[in-house]
Symmetry: C2
Subunit: 157 residues, 2 copies
DNA sequence: CTTTGAGTTGAAGTGAACTTCAACTCAAGG
DNA sequence: CCTTGAGTTGAAGTTCACTTCAACTCAAAG
């Protein structure tokens, strides 16, 4: 009866807009069968893929990287629990790194609030190796990629 | 001698590209005097503004919101330490919330790796913890992009 | 003075992740 | 059969945060 899902159903159950699902398909992140009338029919396993995509995005991973990760899943068989576990554990590292960076930023910000200085030299908020930079055009990630070596010093205002 | 900075100097000292500084100026985030030859000269206090902007971005705040925050600084006088501290402490709340969410996501992901399931009902990755209402899983995305009412349930793959 | 490197402008381009649109077709109830 | 809501397409539009470009001018060293 409901062995396959329409795009509307997949959208409703995943919380992802139909337009986004079509977009994901164009990028090769998900796949669909077609009916005689050319409409998409999704296997239930696609729901899990969509779940993985959304979770990955929350971890701060680009669709491009997510696609690469999904491509590493076995094409021949339906992914098993351990397949998903393997992917997730990689994301876990990323997430931990992000948490570490944000925590450091918060602590640095705390000490800056203490003195109200924003004197980046002393407070090390600009301390390179953790943050700043970003090369090339295009949108910035909310949390920066590593690199950059500014010499910041705002002692005299 | 260096009571004011050229755009190249401000760029070097802040680690922000000149094009970005001009862009910030267009958005009203920073300000510059002009020389007779129409070149920008920045007061040293602008360095602190740029510092605040970059830190704010790392906290995950949009330029639009940053502008709003900067607009709340007194226009008449040079901002004091406590002015900056006031702004920073607001950001600190945001940062803490983000850390909290990331940490929860990591913990949820951990439990998912344990069973490798990504079965969002059981692993609660999609469950905000309390609002599992009614029949079936009333599960939702933890951080929905837009509004919506997804009912996620991937039990059968 | 000449050269060179730094600065100026507005307009257009970039990349990510989508959404919106117009102009259709398909599927199901009455 | 007819209507209606759901689905189809490619192309274009949107937002954010910038960068790149062309075509200049300015500032300082030699």
């Amino acid at each position: 009866m409901h062995e396959s899902l329409t795009i509307g159903q997949l959208s409703a159950r995943s919380g992802v807009a139909p337009s986004a699902l079509r977009f994901y398909e164009r990028l090769g992140l998900i796949h669909a069968q077609r009916t005689g009338g050319n409409q998409r029919r999704y296997a239930r396993s696609e729901l899990r893929r969509v779940a993985f995509i959304r979770i990955s995005q929350q971890v701060g991973i680009s669709l491009d990287e997510i696609r690469a990760a999904l491509d590493s899943l076995p094409a021949s068989r339906t992914p098993t629990a351990s397949d998903w576990a393997r992917l997730s554990s990689v994301w876990r590292e990323r997430l931990n790194e992000r948490i570490r960076l944000m925590t450091k930023l918060r602590d640095d910000l705390d000490s800056c609030i203490g003195c109200g200085c924003l004197s980046l030299q002393r407070c090390a908020l600009y301390n390179p190796g953790d943050s700043l930079g970003g090369e090339g055009p295009g949108a910035r990630l909310v949390l920066p990629r590593t690199e950059g070596e500014p010499e910041v010093d705002v002692r005299a205002s």
